[in-house]
Symmetry: D3
Subunit: 292 residues, 6 copies
């Protein structure tokens, strides 16, 4: 008897019960202001993940030893951002209730808000680690408060002053940079403030959100708003691995728009970041906590 | 002294006061369920329109004799469909108040709803002439009532039974086709019912909305939901010219997604349809009404 | 508890036990002589199938009433054609043993040979209905006897003279056309010989293989060896539906190379052909045999 | 001892001395007003020609029996049209002096002027058979008299009134259409006037120039100025074969811009037209004149 | 009353009278020897500029405080380089007469010659700061003296020995490198000679011309002649800002070919360089001269 | 009398008898496991090579002084890897018998095996210098021992332990990395071990094989299995030049898949590596051995 066609990210085939991490896709890009297309990221990433190996020579760890479940993509409402955020929030609640770590593949950056609403309810002391090219601090954009250009401002509504670390930022309104001085820890241009952020966030429950456009467009052209002057792949990979050594209680990678890079390279970059993050998050369980 | 850089559709350079037709772009695609990108149609069409001639050998008419004003693109809210529709409605009201004919370049098909709301207020006996591959009659889709897959259903809320003529339809839910039997004049697969529709609509105020995907994807691949089995370019051109001989009080062409056809041909098809429609609408004024 | 991510062709979600038709993908293109890429067809088609509706207004039938199981893609050896054919043959045997109809999505045309080997063993009187732009009758090509340019020659090795009907053929060596005169029923350029073929094949067990490049490249550019002068979408759709009214005991559609048509239209064409074929094959079971 | 890498169009491998037809490429597109790229046509066509067969089932003739020499591409000056035309003229003179038929692969349409200058000197009674979407009758464009939008006007300077047959024309200035009434035989929209043209041109020395954009963009999107409403591939193929039955003393196909159609289909269309034209021109020599 | 559709580069909306800098596009690429397409750069850049912010976190300056007027694109003759250069020269004269700084967006590199002719007439002591991958010192190419491969040689005809600083050069004929030793200050491979160039050029009137292909193709693939081994985005940005601190009396950025980079990233790179240059040029007026 | 159309890599026009290096293309990609397309590399590279100059400012050497013969592409069997390898082996034997250096342009990496078989027969002490992103040490993959994922394992069958230096490796199975510890000199992530490799290989006969995907995908996206974290262009160029200073008795560059990078930049990168390698290999003959 033949089996149905199950498709997962490479090596994410643990049964739900045994998994420690649950992946889910959030194919939503309705508030994207410039070039849409991030809705296709999770589906394309799943299919292309078989071009990658399960083994990481960087961490000497193998996805075959990790316990990750891929719950597939949400079916989200286009054209009504609030409705989509609700559906994301519910999925995350379900994952948290099963005592698993929710790991989202965007979609545009606004989807992080849905996840963080649920995670913050469970972890009132939630802190945010945010890699991005853009400030994402607009209070309002073209008449709406729910926009990928303002997602971190909405997150601030929830977690408040001093809880948000923003790294790699190189684009925004003058007003956003000014506002950040009072309300967030914003570090411009690169990820060199990671040691400082790591020290400050140590032990806190952290939601780790990576807008992949923090990479330079020479590395990662497959994104809707390419912003030159970003970090290299290795810089991001190392900082992403480091961040996953924190007490991460939720995370996401967002803003891959695969159709904008027809070579497929941007998708490959996103997948390798994903693999390295999953392996680092799983490291204590693979090696035993004392080995880490 | 140098002039600022005004960009219009080819030959649409009449001053607002003298114009009889006002073009406007509605770059909105947030409810697109499959592949977004129609937001770029009006801007790309303007730039590419200089590949076309002003003269039509089909109608022996020249855009140089037409009086059309291009009011540019609206700046629409992404992620909140109702807000976007309001802004479209206001633009149309402004055009109607100046006693000019509003001609919209979409965007996805939902934008027609904003225009029709305004036009229907002014013309309570409004009828709809609708060319499309899809029924667009869904009452609800992924939890929202405002979706490009249901725009004609929402138009029906306004104009009611028997006022909507749908031609070229070849895709939809079974339920939509059943619903149409009671509420609209739906003709499947092609535009051969045009004489019948023309007879029925003669003298009525008509809003003419063309979803360009009524054309076969071999002709017009640059659209988000290509549906084979459609009409040829000449069939659409002839029917579109015919329709513009009615008492048209508002119209639009929608669903060109220029990035999906990198050859630029689909954009060229949309532009030629636009030119022929504008010329037919202007014919009585160019030739004098008695010549038509 | 969340479910794993099952991906199927639109509406092909019957449990294996209840299904009457079993789909399987054969992602193989190693012998493609010109431009490879058909290996991606089945995966891309699955993902894009959600742009289609389950309902056919042509046949007034709905995939929701069909019983089709999608068994996913085979994992085939690249670089060793014989090995790949063996794996296909085994999958087909498994499907036939369960008394279900095997329906393959290629891949290049050579994959049909694997399927036909298994089907012909079960149905010694097997006949072939073959739509294609190319003769596919080369005995040898670049030193090998297993090549997509000669698949029908290899099929002839199995079924022998007079059993193969070839329609739409418009490309080949002079020698192939000459050879065909003695051994197959070859009809050039279009599908107009279908009534004749239908009459001849009536009641016989038929393997129906459609090389999608039988369509004109204006309709279907997404194929490795585009050959102008082909049939329209409607001509193929009608002939494909007709053919599925025969006693079909196995079938396939091959040679979609999705990456060659970045508009996605060719994939949409293949999917609509697939839907219409599945519905026609299921029609006796949906309507009851006396209604057909 | 290994041989150098000779590249020719499929089956065009006759030694110069034995050849009756000489192909040459004219990679020039400097006056292209909209989207350049035709300079790549001849090189790309050579490489892709191996996707075609040498045998034509339409004419039952085989390139293996034809005597055609491919002299490669000219190296033309970009940015100085007159200089480029001179170089083309010289190549054609060389071919004519060897008593062979010059067959050019453009490039943009202006290149025809260089060839016709040489051919007209040898054949003072030269007539022109011209297939195109565009009138190409502008006397001046953006300040120059040498432009692809006016090439036929410049040809008229040489051959004068009544010698030029223009078919398929569907785009131009009003003034060009008016001018044509007095000076050329212009037939709009399609190739249905071919019998009339054939009768008029019978026995005359004819230069046959085909702007491939006479085909509809649904068939042939790979061209700089796509103009909908054109002819099908079969219509062009049949008319091109017919035209080659005249007393053709020079010919060309121009305006393929291969990069604009990334599927490669437009290149395949151009190649098949080329093959059929070459075969028809060679038919008297292959079959013996009495068989034609 | 609705306004006409004015399109400018982001934040370049000063009235002509108030502006200190005047932008103009020179869409010309007729002498491009390899892959044309730079003619589209200015139009595409205008449209895409809305993906950028007006504020620069690098310089802490905002385009909202700058006074820049966008005069749109010239309509240049294709196929006659001298004619096109004349039109560019006239536009620059007009800008200089109004005592404004001319800033050109190419087009291929030859367009700089038109601008420099006008600027050199006004500033007899003109020096040139030239960033490029290529020497551009050919005296003649394919029979013409006006070619993008020799534009700096033609500039040398005007300004003479020792006035031209060439940085980043990594491609050219052996003879060009030799010639440069006697006539220009040529620095190979990178921009490290900027301090030296800055010192030498201090106080002189400088025309600053940046061939964007000075960037590595990994950063900037959207150019006709990609040449590996180039500078990073940050290196160019910093050197471009530095150069704009000189006494710049004219400048340009050239050789973006947007169609060659379908991700849009190359266009984004060009735009960010443009923004930073404009801000630096405006800095004395925004901050007051004493603050710089 | 006109000459036939000979096409070679830029500057590789020496007669066979005079040449010291013989280029040959191996257009084969049948075992490619992910995205095929490397079969087009040699043909596209030839055509695009005219965008490069013959002169290298890096080495101050000019291809005009080199003696390289381009023998064109082999016509290889698709679908039967062993057959293709045989044909490659025979070509290499022919070149070696003429006492010339064979330089292959792939194709996928498996083609190296054919060349190395012939070279190893002539040079029993053959060593291998291997740059790659991938280990290529799989013994078996999808049921075959001949696969591009295991080519170096097959090479090891021939040359044995300790003879293979692998640099830049950053992807593979855990088992492959383990296996390498015993059998090859594998250096991860970059080319920094070159001095060590150079010392060890000094004087030995070396086959130098470069899988171009050793470069980072930001530099070289045009390859079937992009693997981030690779080396820069300059790093590869310098190491490739260094390696060509060894006693190289055969070499190749493989795995360019030009269609995956539509900007053409990846092809330009491959060509520049090729030029620099050829120049270094020719340096002793151009300068005289004592000058090197």
């Amino acid at each position: 008897m033949l089996s149905p066609n199950v498709e997962t990210f490479l090596g994410c085939e643990a049964p739900f019960n045994e998994a420690r991490i649950v992946l889910y896709g959030a194919p939503f890009d309705s508030t994207t202001s410039f070039r849409p297309g991030t809705r296709f990221a999770s589906r394309i990433m799943r299919g292309e993940s078989y071009g990658l190996e399960t083994y990481s020579p960087y961490q000497d760890l193998d996805m075959e030893d990790a316990k990750v479940f891929d719950s597939g993509d949400l079916e989200l409402c286009f054209g009504d951002a609030e409705k989509a955020l609700k559906d994301i929030e519910m999925r995350v609640e379900e994952i948290l209730e099963a005592n698993k770590l929710p790991f989202m593949i965007g979609g545009e950056h606004l989807v992080s808000l849905g996840a963080i609403r649920a995670v913050a309810r469970r972890y009132p002391d939630l802190h945010i680690l945010h890699f991005d090219a853009h400030t994402d601090l607009r209070d309002e954009y073209l008449g709406t408060h729910l926009t990928h250009a303002g997602v971190i401002r909405r997150v601030w509504d929830i977690v408040g002053d001093g809880r948000i670390w923003q790294l790699g930022i190189r684009s925004g309104l003058r007003e956003e940079f000014q506002w950040a001085r009072e309300h967030t820890h914003l570090h411009k241009f690169d990820l060199k403030a990671m040691p400082q952020a790591m020290a400050a966030l140590k032990g806190k429950p952290v939601y780790f959100t990576i807008d992949l456009d923090v990479m330079d467009p020479s590395v990662f052209p497959g994104t809707g708003t390419p912003e030159y002057g970003g970090v290299s792949f290795k810089e991001l990979m190392e900082a992403a691995i480091a961040g996953c050594g924190l007490n991460v209680v939720g995370c996401d990678i967002v803003e891959l728009s695969p159709g904008l890079d027809q070579s497929g390279a941007s998708t490959a970059a996103a997948l390798k970041i994903l693999r390295e993050m999953l392996l680092k998050l799983e490291e204590p369980f693979i090696k035993g906590p004392e080995q880490v």
